[in-house]
């Protein structure tokens, strides 16, 4: 990463803020928040698990927006954003899929429950991994446009996938992993912890997003420089 001392002040501030939030979130999760009665300490996984899931949705929505903007405006900026957001999305998706089972196992005895959100996350993981594979593979110049189409189509499918999985689940109900505590309500201490966690994860995500984006830009610059060299030597 860039040498922290050489960064402009707002970037330094943002990095420190992210770090600070993370530490604060960790303290809240491990020290401050009381242990949940039913599930015991394993429940503390919930905070980062759900925070990651929400962050994942945010990034996939970003892919969607960036894809539309790219098809509309054709500025490289949007394409790099889409690619970076997709990569971050898959990262957090993986985290959700790994922490979910670890949470489920001690409580319900199975590694996997066909929890609607978890199943949706699985399908999304497969979809966006395919997106990344498409990106990584071809040197086709149209790649950016094609990927943008997939970014749009894929995200629009999400509510449909969610809907159909819920109907599917009604056929064989199993324990629900992600208890958002919506209707029963989380006690305020837990809600607060969760929100701080969410903020911390989002901050981290956007920090990484920016780094990844700069990488994509640098990549493009190398390509165009190489192109220029080829032209000059001709």
């Amino acid at each position: 990463m860039h040498d922290l001392r050489s960064l402009p002040s707002w970037q330094k501030f943002y990095a420190l803020l992210t770090y600070g939030m993370m530490i604060y979130a960790l303290w809240l999760v491990f020290v401050y928040v009381p242990t949940e009665k039913a599930q015991g300490i394993v429940q503390r996984i919930f905070y980062f698990h759900v925070a990651s899931a929400l962050t994942m949705f945010v990034t996939f929505f970003l892919v969607f927006l960036a894809s539309i903007l790219y098809l509309w405006k054709r500025t490289e900026w949007y394409d790099h954003l889409a690619y970076s957001a997709a990569e971050l999305g898959v990262l957090f998706c993986t985290l959700v899929l790994l922490t979910g089972p670890i949470w489920a196992r001690p409580i319900w005895g199975t590694w996997w429950t066909w929890d609607p959100t978890l199943t949706l996350t699985l399908v999304l993981w497969l979809m966006y991994v395919a997106y990344l594979l498409l990106r990584m593979d071809s040197d086709d110049p149209r790649k950016a446009r094609l990927a943008a189409v997939i970014g749009i189509v894929g995200f629009l499918d999400v509510p449909l996938i969610r809907w159909s999985i819920e109907k599917w689940r009604k056929l064989h109900p199993e324990p629900v992993v992600v208890q958002a505590g919506g209707k029963t309500g989380l006690p305020p201490s837990m809600m607060f912890t969760f929100l701080v966690c969410l903020l911390a994860v989002l901050l981290l995500c956007f920090y990484l997003l920016r780094e990844r984006y700069l990488l994509a830009k640098a990549n493009q610059e190398t390509a165009s420089l190489r192109h220029e060299i080829r032209e000059l030597s001709a």
């Binding site: 997106y131 189409v149 189509v153 629009l156 109907k167």
Partner: protein, 232 residues
């Protein structure tokens, strides 16, 4: 687009491209034979794997049927992509067509026809081997198949165009196609399952709604987005 539909040229060009595709396929019958035989094989293999328990087989019958169709779509469309790749024949057609959506529609209809033919081969065997009465609730079943095949065709054709000149197309196609069609798969399978048994037809309409919404949304998006895929 409605104005164009009434326009004679639109329909004429659509019919011309469709006829050409169907005629080309009819000469070699490659896609039809491979996918039909493949579909029959899949049903057969499922039968070997689960068939020792006929009660169980009846329960999974709807799932087996639609998995077969999914795989047949993947196989058939991959062949279809390959026939379009290279030689820039695609570009030729696009230049000639009044509107790029004609090309998409023609391909999509052609693919739907292939899938329907595969169904015509597979369903009787299916009915006989698994002792399923398909004539019960026949009209609704027909609707489910119409919507299901339509959806598979729309998504499949769209993705086949996206991947037409990409290196990894064989492996990427199923990777993209299968996750996105999850709603269709779930809805079609459970609608079919409900219709094959005798009771609770009422629930079917939930699944059919999902199918209708899926088809409408993705058909519309495909038409909107198609220009961006094939532009030079």
């Amino acid at each position: 687009m409605l104005a164009m539909l009434s326009n004679n040229t639109f329909l004429r060009q659509l019919w011309a491209i469709l006829k050409k595709d169907l005629r080309t396929e009819w000469r070699s019958r490659e896609i039809l034979t491979t996918t039909s035989v493949f579909a029959i094989l899949v049903v057969l293999v499922f039968h070997f794997a689960i068939g020792a328990n006929p009660a169980l087989l009846r329960q999974v019958a709807a799932g087996v049927l639609w998995i077969t169709l999914l795989f047949a779509t993947v196989l058939g469309l991959q062949r279809a992509i390959q026939t379009e790749s290279g030689e820039d024949c695609l570009q030729g057609i696009l230049l000639a067509a009044q509107d790029s959506s004609i090309v998409f529609l023609a391909k999509m209809i052609a693919n739907s026809i292939y899938l329907t033919i595969v169904c015509l081969f597979t369903l009787p065997l299916f009915s006989v081997w698994m002792h399923i009465d398909l004539t019960r609730n026949f009209m609704i079943l027909l609707l489910v198949f119409f919507l299901g095949i339509g959806g598979l065709s729309t998504i499949g054709t769209l993705f086949s165009f996206i991947l037409v000149n990409i290196k990894m197309q064989e492996s990427l196609f199923p990777l993209l196609f299968l996750p996105i069609t999850v709603p269709l798969t779930i809805a079609a399978v459970y609608a079919t399952a409900l219709l094959i048994e005798e009771n609770s037809v009422g629930n079917v309409w939930d699944y059919i709604t999902i199918l209708i919404v899926f088809d409408i949304i993705f058909f519309t998006i495909a038409l909107i987005v198609f220009d961006y895929i094939v532009e030079e």
